[in-house]
């Protein structure tokens, strides 16, 4: 089985500084793969280990992949190879899904595409939904369990009011929940092996954006008291209780 796991490299949010005029300074931010994308890598590895096959990582936006550190990091977590599609990493979900769809075609197709619950910067929860429609394949979001059964997969899908059990014929496109698995921490051996795994580039065209970003600003900060107490638990609990009762 050929499985594509979609991963996005985005600036790490804890490294993003807010300037006094509330604009963002991304210049010191490390590029990272969002924690929910790693669920897609893990799920893909698990399926491939069960039924045999390969796992290809696919990412639109080359900026974050220039250093070898991030490449090794995701490759060590279960990918067999990584394919990077040059393009705007901050593109909207239709642009990204269009590039991914074209890239999947360039790769000669696959049996299963897995995506995370949401990217760390946009968190649109939409790239997978749109990709499935563009590829014309059965598509689901919020997939919380996957079992391969011949030419289809049986999945559990988490809704607000219940769980759906759905049979999905392959090839299919599935977006996962953040609770479907716990992404593995790579060992030394995996990290060394990752350095030898192939990384390639595939070009894909992107349509125009659906919106013009007029501004991007941090919200006004609320001024907080920031009183911090430390020490004997009974004493600090007493101080906290006092603070709470004066409210």
């Amino acid at each position: 089985m050929r499985i594509v796991a979609c991963v996005k490299a985005a600036p790490e949010d804890s490294d993003i500084a807010v300037k006094p005029d509330r604009t963002l300074d991304l210049s010191r931010a490390q590029w990272k793969v969002g924690s929910y994308d790693l669920n897609a890598v893990e799920a893909a590895r698990q399926v491939a280990d069960q039924v045999g096959g390969e796992v290809i990582g696919l990412s639109v936006g080359s900026e974050g992949w220039s250093g070898s550190k991030l490449r090794k990091d995701v490759l060590s977590r279960g990918l067999d190879s990584l394919v990077v599609v040059p393009g705007d990493p901050d593109a909207d979900s239709f642009q990204t899904a269009s590039a991914l769809a074209a890239a999947v075609g360039e790769l000669g197709g696959c049996d299963l595409v897995l995506l995370g619950a949401g990217s760390s910067d946009r968190y649109a929860q939409q790239v997978g939904n749109q990709l499935g429609a563009l590829l014309g394949r059965p598509t689901l979001n919020q997939v919380d369990a996957i079992t391969v059964d011949g030419d289809h997969v049986r999945v559990e899908r988490l809704l607000e009011d219940g769980v759906q059990v759905v049979d999905v014929p392959l090839p299919a496109v599935l977006s996962l929940t953040s609770g479907i698995n716990t992404p593995r921490i790579a060992g030394m051996k995996d990290i060394l092996a990752a350095g030898k795994k192939p990384v390639s580039e595939v070009a894909a065209a992107m349509p125009g954006a659906s919106a013009r970003v007029a501004s991007l600003l941090a919200p006004e900060q609320v001024d907080r008291g920031r009183v911090v107490v430390e020490g004997d638990p009974a004493e600090t609990a007493q101080q906290l209780a006092q603070f709470l009762t004066t409210l």
């Binding site: 963002l24 598509t139 609770g179 013009r212 920031r226 600090t236």
Partner: protein, 296 residues
């Protein structure tokens, strides 16, 4: 007259969305997949969903219908099924959907959405020929103007592929954390599910609702999804929020930073939550919480 379209799959959610969509246009037209006519819309095009079919199987015919009727603004609710429908309908229309946190203006259509986990707010002017919007909770104020409630049945053939094997309903409590005056939030600092009783005892003393960080809900499943707070969960505005064993990542904080007062208990004095707290206790929750219950 300006017109906003909505696509819905359940009656209650559909009527609520119809009232919200009046913030976008004078007239609201609905496409209802399997949920019948909406009293709060002016016109509902009803699609009879085949028994056992997933509502999402109608994405393509719904997109074709919207295109044929010249829809330029199409809104969806933020539930799991509506989100998938929104993404698929938008893809068939050749556009990207926008998750709307607020509406700045309708002509031109300018909306806000959260970016970088809630660290920033992006203001987007929709330039696509069709605006596909997912209205997040609280994005607009619902109108109390009554709809005309007209109904027009339309035919649609679902796309084959997905087979629904069964649905296991989730018995769940209805919680509305947004109304709570006091909220106690628990995070990964709790080592076991049973230990949440320590937080429950504090919540009882304070008359507070219990909430959590996302990993406590989606990760380990100790609390229902309705109770997690943050960019993808609930947003609260209580008088007091008490965060226990929560590190204070931006994705969580964005759901709670409208609290009047934030209090935190964390054993790591460098935890980011202390930067956002009015009062913080550095300590082990297993020692602090029993003492706090005694002190309250």
């Amino acid at each position: 007259m300006t017109e906003a379209w909505i696509v819905v799959h359940d009656l209650d959610g559909g009527n609520a969305l119809a009232r919200s969509a009046r913030a976008l246009a004078e007239r609201v037209v609905a496409v209802s997949v399997g949920a019948g006519g909406l009293a709060d819309a002016d016109l509902t095009l009803t699609v009879d969903a085949a028994p056992g079919a997933l509502v999402e199987a109608y994405a393509q015919p719904v997109a074709a219908l919207l295109a044929a009727r010249g829809a330029t603004v199409v809104a969806f609710a933020g539930d799991v099924r509506s989100r998938l429908l929104a993404g698929q309908v938008a893809a068939h229309l050749g556009v990207g959907p926008t998750n709307v946190a607020g509406v700045v203006s309708t002509a031109p259509l300018v909306v806000t959405r959260l970016a970088y986990g809630g660290l920033a707010v992006a203001t987007d002017e929709i330039t696509a020929p069709v605006a596909v919007l997912v209205l997040e909770p609280g994005a607009v104020t619902p109108s109390d103007v009554a709809g005309q409630g007209a109904v027009e049945p339309v035919d649609a053939t679902p796309t084959a592929g997905l087979t629904l094997v069964e649905t296991r309903p989730k018995g769940g409590e209805q919680v509305d954390l947004t109304a709570a005056k006091r909220v106690v939030g628990v995070g990964r600092g709790f080592a076991a599910e049973a230990d949440l009783d320590l937080a429950r005892a504090v919540a009882n003393r304070l008359g507070a609702e219990l909430a959590c960080s996302r990993p406590i809900s989606e990760g380990v499943g100790w609390m229902p999804a309705e109770r997690y707070l943050g960019v993808s969960g609930a947003t609260i505005k209580p008088d007091v929020y008490l965060a226990i064993g929560i590190s204070g990542q931006i994705q969580h904080l964005v759901g709670v930073n409208h609290a009047k007062v934030i209090v935190a208990i964390n054993k790591d004095k460098n935890a980011p939550i202390f930067q956002q707290a009015d009062f913080g206790v550095v300590g082990d929750l297993y020692q602090v919480l029993p003492a706090l219950v005694d002190a309250l």
